[in-house]
């Protein structure tokens, strides 16, 4: 089941690259006591994700934070190493945190997983964005397959 607006964000463990390698972090830790913008996408280094989705949030990070967002998380079913390398390529450090959901635990808990094995990508994430306020999903934008619009940073700015 897909997560619902107004309900609690699911609990899952994800990974972020630290100095000593991937560091496990729970959604509880990520969401407690703060307002967080999250966007999920099918894969690091893929076309729309690289040319629009991530760059949009990097570009508008300051504007989102000026509207009360404490943290911006980019989530994909990739590992923390790949996410870190991809984020650096797009100037994410200091603006967008690159979160690896390599086990797809968060993606499945949100109900936004999809089978991309026909493209040699295994289980991946649909494209979405959400605003999580102190652990509660306030806004949830799920893109229809192949589309890019409502999950963009530009659209989220209109929702704050």
């Amino acid at each position: 089941m897909t997560v619902s607006q107004g309900g609690p964000a699911p609990e899952a463990t994800v990974h972020e690259l630290g100095d000593a390698g991937p560091k496990a972090v729970t959604t509880k830790e990520l969401f407690a006591g703060r307002k967080v913008a999250v966007f999920g996408l099918p894969g690091a280094f893929t076309r729309t994700c690289s040319s629009k989705h991530l760059p949009g949030f990097v570009q508008h990070a300051a504007a989102l934070k000026a509207k009360g967002i404490d943290d911006i998380l980019c989530v994909s079913v990739n590992d923390a190493f790949v996410m870190d390398a991809w984020g650096k390529e797009h100037g994410a450090p200091g603006k967008v945190r690159m979160i690896g959901d390599g086990n797809a635990d968060l993606t499945k808990a949100l109900g936004v997983d999809r089978d991309a094995s026909a493209n040699g990508m295994g289980v991946r994430s649909k494209r979405y964005s959400m605003i999580v306020d102190n652990g509660v999903v306030k806004v949830f934008n799920l893109e229809p397959t192949g589309e890019y619009g409502i999950s963009s940073a530009e659209h989220m700015l209109t929702q704050l």
């Binding site: 463990t13 390398a85 390599g102 040699g120 990508m121």
Partner: protein, 160 residues
């Protein structure tokens, strides 16, 4: 069950990077002649990026001189991630990258490993094998993914 010396690499279609993108090719066609195949736990991870793949790139000409027709790197990553990684490492066509994003080949070889603890899901053990016309002639599997000794380019080169 893990594949053993004397056994044939299972027949299946795999995805290999080429200059124009991705080529779908059968393992039988790919492994014609003499091939060295090595598996890595993940693109952009430290050992794979700093030692394992660069070693084979560096020694590619030495392998050719010893009659090796192709050098193939297998990773449970998608083709976009492997393309970005090969650019970073500077593979320059010297090693063919096999994107086993669904882990189909890795599982068929019995060389998969559970790396969920680090948020990497199912991956490949670190190994290298010498394959002649599809038949495994030598196989070296590292004890842990962090090790890169018996599967390294210098070690395999001495066995070709």
């Amino acid at each position: 069950m893990t594949i053993a010396v004397g056994q044939r690499v299972p027949s299946m279609t795999v995805r290999v990077l080429n200059e124009g993108g991705v080529e779908e090719i059968s393992t039988d066609a790919l492994l014609k002649g003499k091939a060295v195949v090595f598996g890595v736990p993940g693109a952009f991870t430290p050992t794979c990026t700093n030692q394992h793949l660069p070693g084979y790139v560096k020694h590619a000409d030495d392998f050719r001189k010893k009659g090796v027709d192709s050098i193939i790197c297998v990773a449970v990553n998608d083709d976009r991630v492997l393309t970005a990684w090969s650019k970073k490492v500077g593979v320059d066509g010297k090693v063919r990258l096999l994107a086993d994003g669904n882990a189909d080949l890795t599982k068929a070889l019995g060389l998969d490993i559970d790396l969920r603890a680090g948020g990497l899901g199912t991956r490949s053990k670190r190994y290298a094998m010498i394959v002649e016309n599809g038949v495994v002639k030598a196989l070296q599997i590292e004890e842990t993914p962090r090790n890169c000794s018996i599967s390294s380019a210098p070690d395999i080169l001495s066995k070709v």
